[in-house]
Each structure stands twice: as C-alpha cells, then as structure tokens.
C-alpha cells in the first residue's frame, strides 16, 4: 500500500501542478548532455562518412553523365565532319567524271569533224576531176559537132549549087 502511493506520487504531482511533464526540470541536465553526445556522434558520422559518400556519389554520377554527353557530342561532331568530307569527295569525283566525259565528247566531235572535212575534200577533188573531164568531153563533142555541121553544110551546098562552098563561106554561115 505504501509503495503503491509512493510510485503514483510522481505523475500525480505533475498532474496536480497542472504543468507539462516537459517542465519537470530534474530530467533536463541528463537529457541535454545525452542529446549533445548523440548529436556529436551523428554530426561526426555525417561529416566524416555519410555526407562525403552520398555527396560524392551524386557528383560522380553527374560527372559521368556530363562526360558521356561530351563524348557523344564529340563523336557526333566527328561523324558529321566525316560525312561532310565524304560528300565533298563525291562532289569532286562527280565533277572529275563530268570533265572527263566532256573532254572525251569534244575530242570525238573534233575527230568526226576532221574526218568529215577530209572526206568532203576528197569528194570535192573527185568532183572537180570529173567536172573537168566532162567539160573536156563536151568541148571535144562541141568541136566535132562544128566540123560535122560545116561538112554537112558543104555537102548540102555542093549538092544544091553544084559547086563546093569555100571554107570562109561555111564559117560565116555557121556563125550567123
């Protein structure tokens, strides 16, 4: 009975005084000292272990991500430069091919023109020779025709008049 009342005294006192148990100052020094010890332990632990590890992990990751992005950007730039070089090379090759084609075409056309001119010259020569022959043959033929005509006219005159016409008369007759 006596112990029971003694045990129940403390809470009853706190309740009776109407105060909060937090204002029971007998517990303050112990709590403060223990709390300071506990806080110092946590502070040391965080300062020496937790914060460097966790913060370091975050920084490692950011450095890795930034490094990877930089690498990727560098590779992309390289690939773009290579693509540009390849495009330039292709354009150069195409220009070369076009130039070669044009040259070949010009050469072929020049050859064709030369051969054509040569053939034409040959043909023209042949035509001139032929023309000359024709002109000579015609002159010859024309000369024959004149002698035949004066012969015929002499014969006709002789037959009609009984006398042979002189050469001068025949010539004047043919000229009129």
């Amino acid at each position: 009975m006596a112990t029971e009342t003694q045990e129940s005294t403390q809470p009853a006192e706190a309740a009776a005084s109407g105060g909060l148990p937090q204002f029971d100052f007998q517990w303050w020094p112990g709590q403060i000292v223990w709390f300071l010890i506990m806080f110092a332990v946590v502070l040391l632990f965080v300062r020496l272990f937790a914060a460097p590890r966790v913060g370091g992990g975050i920084e490692d990751r950011e450095a890795k991500i930034n490094g990877d992005i930089a690498d990727a950007r560098r590779l992309k730039d390289e690939a773009e430069a290579q693509a540009a070089a390849a495009a330039a090379e292709t354009a150069q090759a195409r220009a070369g091919a076009q130039r070669l084609g044009a040259e070949a075409r010009a050469k072929a056309q020049a050859e064709i023109a030369a051969r054509l001119a040569e053939e034409e010259a040959k043909l023209a020569e042949k035509a001139a020779v032929a023309d000359a022959r024709i002109a000579k043959a015609r002159d010859a033929a024309m000369a024959n025709v004149a002698s035949i005509a004066s012969d015929t006219a002499g014969a006709i005159v002789a037959k009609l008049t009984g006398r042979a016409a002189s050469a001068a008369e025949l010539a004047s007759a043919k000229g009129s």
């Binding site: 204002f23 517990w27 709590q31 403060i32 223990w34 502070l43 632990f45």
Partner: protein, 275 residues
Amino acid sequence: MAQQPAIEPMHQFLIHKIVQGPVFHLGGLPVDMSITNSVASMIAGALILIIFFAATAKREIVPNRGQALAESLYNIVDRVLVGPIIGHDGKPYVPYIFALFLVILVLNLMSVVLAVGNVGGLDLTFAVTSQLAVTATLAVLTFFSVFILGFIKHGPKFLGLFAPGGMPVVMLIFMIPIEILSYFVRPVTLAMRLFGNMLGGHVVMSLFGSFVVALAIVGLSGGVATLAFIPSALSFTMIVALTGLELVVAILQAFVFAALATVYLNEVVNFGHGH
C-alpha cells in the same frame, strides 16, 4: 462495472529511468546520466541513422533504392536549401545542416511511425522532439554556432547586422534594439516551434486513442450504450488521418528547422553582400 481508463494525454511525455547511470555535478548542478526512455530513443535514433547510411551510402553510378533515398535526403539539404539560399560558399556547411535535418527527422518520424511497435514496454517511440529540453538544446546550439561563426569570420564588424543600412541616425536609436531583440528571439522560436508541433500532434493522437478505448468499453455494457461504438470507430478513423498528418508535420518540421538554420547561416556566410 468496467473500470474506466483515465484519459491522460500527457502521460506519454513522462520520463522514467530504464538503467541507473552515474550522477556527476556540473557547477553544482547534478547531471543524472541514467538511461531514460528519452535517452534510449535518442540512442535508437542515432543507431537508425548510422545503420541506414552505413548500408546505403555507396558511390554506385546506378543507385539502388536505399542509395536513392539517401541521395534524396542529401539533395533536400544540398540542392533545395543550401544551394539556393547560400550559394556556392555554403558547400562546407552542408554536412552540419544535413546532420541537424537527419537528427530531427529521425526522432520525429520514430515517434509517429514506431508507435505501432510500442509493445512489451520497449519504449523506443518516446517523442524526444516534444521534450523542450531537447528542442531548446538544438535551437541554442544552432543559434550560437552561427552567431559565433559570424564573429570568427567577420570580427566586431558582425555587429553591423543589427544596424540596417541606409537608416537615418534617429531611426537607428529605435531600430537597433528591435533588431537585437528579433535576433535573439530566434532560438526561442526555433525551440518552441518544434516542441509545440510535436507536443500538439501527440496530445491529439493520444486523446483520440483514449476515446477509441473508453467509448468501446462503454459500448460493451450493452443496451443503448452499444451506440457508443459509432464514435469509437470515428475516433479510430481520426487516428488514422492524424497519423498521416503527423507524418507530414514530422518531415515538415525537420525541413523548417534545417531551412531556418540555413537562412541564419546565410546571414553569416554572405554577410555584407546583400545588406
């Protein structure tokens, strides 16, 4: 007749000894180093923090869940508080703010979350942060660390903090006492804010908890009194809702304390830049 349990919401804050420790005297004041339920909860909180970070503080590029949680907690201090408030110069102080944040957070959360495990007299759910002795220690420690750091970094010039620039001399006569008062009231508000929030939440939860039992006992007596089960069930619903609310308060108060410590620290670190 069923015996009514007394509704005593303050009972949960009572301190009792678990292991008797040495008593030494500090300037004539007896300091009882006994392990009380409050001290046991503090030690448990410190152990939880140390075990958690020992297990999760890795430097993996791809974090697992534990490491991701540890990094989220660190980023709250590093990227949400110190970075934007102080800037690059605040980097060396991150571990101190982080430790402050973690201690308050773990003690707050333990008192709400572990309450379900409060069986067999294993009293690790004691709300350490609803002890004014503890919150006052935290507040005074934070406040004077910052104040002393100000003198170490800036010397007597640091007293210029109490004289706002661009004031006529006549106004300074009124302003300086007001500034000094508002400055030195900071540890009081720091201590009372955390203490009041944790105390209030736990008292309300305890009250509704008592209602659940008391009303259920009334309901057991049969007859019309059976209707008492309805408010009993409602009280139980309230406890569930309040537990959610108290979780938010527990996290928020740890954040607020860390945020204010950062703001106070900023005045010291960036002293003379923004004034």
